[in-house]
Symmetry: C2
Subunit: 211 residues, 2 copies
Amino acid sequence: MSDLSATSRTRHRRLREQGRTDREDLFAVLRAGFVCHLGVVADGDPMVVPTVYGFDSDHIYVHGSVASRSLAQGATVCVTITHIDGLVLARSVFEHGVNYRSAMIYGVPRALEDEEKLAALECLTEHVAPGQWDYARRPNRKELAATTILAISLEEASVKVRQGPPEDADDPHDVWAGVLPLATSWRRPVTDPLATRPIPDHVMRRAETPL
Amino acid sequence: MSDLSATSRTRHRRLREQGRTDREDLFAVLRAGFVCHLGVVADGDPMVVPTVYGFDSDHIYVHGSVASRSLAQGATVCVTITHIDGLVLARSVFEHGVNYRSAMIYGVPRALEDEEKLAALECLTEHVAPGQWDYARRPNRKELAATTILAISLEEASVKVRQGPPEDADDPHDVWAGVLPLATSWRRPVTDPLATRPIPDHVMRRAETPL
């Protein structure tokens, strides 16, 4: 895949200057988080569910139990990933906004089975918590059967990014203007009171690596 | 309004023990953030858009330009607000999860006009950036016309919260288990290079108040 597609759904119609067309921008957004908002149509109405995800070069994999129950065969879903980087405090209320990085992916999900499901669950687990696939107990047959993993192609996707100061410096209303940054960061791991082992290195590394 | 409703859409069917039924839980989730994911059905497919919100005792108000363009008259939307508090690193991959607080609101939005729109925009602005409504320049007639604010009743809503350590202490796989907390916090305001005024007190207060 090269550039991001521009279908009728993913063409940037509004705030066009915030649209990105490089596929690497999509991966940058995907790498920076692990929870997406999965939108499905259920009984004609939209339903938006937060869920964890992983991805490879071609697909995003989502934990889809709630959504897949409501999902008609062959129906399209929308996966949105959003990182909020700050408030844009402009001179005018109208120019107030948010600094953010966001991706939307449209596709018809495929519920994975057997080896594909296991591989996608490894991908997802390693994205969310690198090192845990080899450290924790892997799913047995019964647990794997009780897990729903959906694969959605990254083919139809769009990315929007807004960064930087407000854009109304020409406004006659002479007040302070700027950005109030917002940052998401890991804290020190909290050991389960019932656990007896020390915190493993891979968890400490995750805690010390910025999101 | 007293307890949260339990319609067919908001009844907790899965992970029922994570469901909350107190209306105050809904307001706690609403207070803790300012960006929601707004789900609409557009041409039969779901579309999930991040957008800012405010709320009062009866309604959530969302900035709805993208969504409203695609929204059929009388169509239901789903507004989801999610706060991620940490990774739950269990002994088994199957029990891995996320500590979170999440609310879903279903309703038929009403596009506000005139005085109602202005009041909702003040509510939204003051929720996102307390003090800015009196400090920044308020929208003129043209700007207000170019702004879409949707009001959605809080009547049909559900809240889910998951906190605490993993729940597989009885798993024979003897490894470390616990939670890797994730925290979102304000950083020091960044002044627009083109601004000449000092950072006002209300912005400093916002920066120093935990989300």
